[in-house]
Amino acid sequence: MTGTPPDDVDVATRRPSLGAGLLWLAPLGFLAIFFFYPLAAILVASFARSLAGPLAPWADLFARPSFPRVVGFTLAQALASTALTLMLGLPAAYLVGRHTFRGRSLLLALTAVPFVMPTVVVAAAFTALLGPRGWVNVALMEMLHLEAPPIAFVHTLTAILVAHVFYNTTIVVRLVGDFWSHLDPRQTEAAQVLGASRAHAWRTVTLPLLLPAIAAASALVFLFDFTSFGVILLLGGPRFSTLEVEIYTQTVGLLNLPIAATLALIQLACTLALSGVYTALARRVNRPLTLQPAHLAQQPLAGARQRWLAAAVVVALSVFLLAPLGALALRSVTRLDPERGQTSLPAPAITLAYYRALGENPRQSIFHAAPATAIGVSLTYAAITVVLSLALGMPAAWMLARRPDDFLSRLVDPLLLLPLGTSAVTLGLGFTLALAAPPLDLRTSPVLIPLAHTLVAFPFVVRSLLPPLRSLQPRLRQAASVLGAAPARVFRTIELPLIARALLLASAFSFTISLGEFGATTILARPEFPTLPVAIYRYLSRPGALNYGQALAMSTILMIVCAAAMLALEKLRFGEQGEF
């Protein structure tokens, strides 16, 4: 029993210390106060409103013929969307993870933009492109002399799937691409030197090493698709319904809170089941690795094969991600032809009138949101969200990685994804109920908004940090400990530099989540502090071409703000590379 501990056992896991256990305090305290407490409050209050007892809504729900259809469709579309997102995301992750090329940073920044766009304007962009009188259909009709538009897109299942790919590809590209860039390419090369074919080496060496990142990305994408709301409502249309849409309809349209709460519980149970499977899997697929600085793994494109692959990826990303954004930006500077009702391409009348009008407030409305104000408010909320979610996510991820077998770690791990499975309207009403009364009276406080954003961002932070933290060679830390470094010092000098890039990745996710969030924001918003999505929606909900144009102009500004922030973050990343 003397001698050194075996390599694969972490010293720290065998030496329970109360001090480290305290690291759970902040993340669990936060989740308890701002997630579980409001959630419990709204569920309890909702069931209490069922006059026939708390079981009646269950019986009512299961008796509805539409119910199994809704659950089935919710799961099926999420599975299909996740698979498609991986199909586009993985090649793109390979490209940005393994290669350097001109425009790489810009490409990476642009893939993040869809993530922040409100669904109302994305639906508008897709209609402009692919609607019955959209640019593609009109062009095809003119070219092929067709009577009717050849492409039916809006209000189809295809539209839902394409929109989900549009929104979530960035999750796969970033999470997997980042992890990929740190895998030692020599392992795969060694396999090939030893005679493995390219495909065999990929399947037996690269893929298993990538699995933790792929699993994390898939789980996050699946949950986003599973709880999809705006995409289903606007691009799918009334013939499609998911659990999230039903929760909203029952709450807001029918004021049937007991049924809404029942649906919310079912959605939570599904989320919990999924994250249970995922966390169990994630533990198994992790293995210690020697992560490498990205510049060792990344090479310029070489050879026709790599160039063709790069071209194919860029074209695919352009079609799925950039074309709708481009259509939106183009519409924001295009004057709508006053001679409407014609079937031809819109006359190319370029105008900046919509942008100019954004700064004006001709009717002196008290709620007018000047672009600078909305940008400032959005950036402030986003910055608070980044700080809060990193402060909470880092200790949680560290505990999960270092003490995977602790009782608390096993218990908490699957719970951390639950905020992603909770509908915004449920949570918004829960905040109203639970946080508006003593002991915690935040009633009308603007701080509720970054708190709600942090709930969504927190799981992303944990999932971004976990794969690299778990892959860290235990020997590195053991050596430092043996040499007398305190745990805090080990973290600072060994672990922190190694996860620095993952921290930037986590920041990027938190930032974009906050920038684009609309559902909870609109319920909790204070008119003095309008965010960009709230301002966009305000214009969009009014008749008149000018209002519509202003909504598109504000959306374009949101795109630019997001892309600029992502580029700035990329620059930061570049500076960190030396430490790796």
Binding site: L25, V120, G131, V252, L254, E339, S365, P543, G544
Partner: protein
Amino acid sequence: MKLASAIGLAAAALVAACARTPAGPPVLTVMTHDSFAASEPVIQAFEQQTGAKLQFLPSGDAGTALNRAILARQHPLADVFYGVDNTFLSRALDEDIFEVYDSPALAAIPGEFQLDPTHRALPVDFGDVCLNYDKSFFDSRGLPVPGRLEDLTDPRYRGLLVVENPATSSPGLAFLLTTIGHFGEDGYLDYWRALRQNDVLVVNDWEAAYNEEFSGASAVGTRPLVVSYGSSPPFEVLYAEPPVSEPSTGAITADDMCFRQIEFVGILKGTTRRSLAEQWIDFMLSVTFQEDMPLQMFVFPVNPEAKLDPVFEQFMAVPTHPAQVEAQAIATHRDEWIEAWTEVVLR
């Protein structure tokens, strides 16, 4: 990290405390749906007149805001709630969230708007949900604009109409109620079957219907008939780019083809600023506020003394006989009507 989050929480509590700090002028909090708007000078007029400060609390769409007010009954979020309409009125009254206020200002308001005889919910404005049509479409084809609901099932109007889903959209519900008012509870589903036969398009919200599908308002729409508001055409002039002198759209206000939405305000139970709340409600019913509303919120004043903007006067359309459905009947049957409609039209 613990420190950081502790600081975060402390800062949060601090901001929250500052937001309601008792020093300074008394604050009247008004909870609304997120379509509420008013102009700076009008709000200032009230604040100067009373020495109070107004704080508005937009809380999502009308349904979400009402839910929020109901759920927060024990610890009200605001002193006044504005924005419950006649389709939700009975619900708000049954939940008993309002205090009685028999405002002297009600004397000037026509009885047709005063749907709550107990004076807990006081009418502020109204708007009519009516079909809008694309003028150039009907002009260029020499097709008459439909003058009765029955016309819409005529093959000549096949594929021309886009409506909103009543489960997710308030104008959608209003149009469903229009058909119930006209055809009765026994006839409306047959009518919708015929509409479905005639290729009616259903979308989930007004924004999609009006901005994306309606050919009168956008370059990409294909349907020349849409369920919108009687006040929409003037806005096609007021918010045109480039400026125009005539709207490209019109509203159909024939008898029984529109549904009137009336919006109400009430003093929330548990308020500690009762007299200020009363003053605000009187102010909302006064000519100053009532004349400000149309250009801010696209609704019409209930106070007949309020004068309208000339563009409004010229292009607005107000039906003389909107379809009638009792508020109590709406409250009782709303769910079953919507579900029956869903089965017939969407499945």
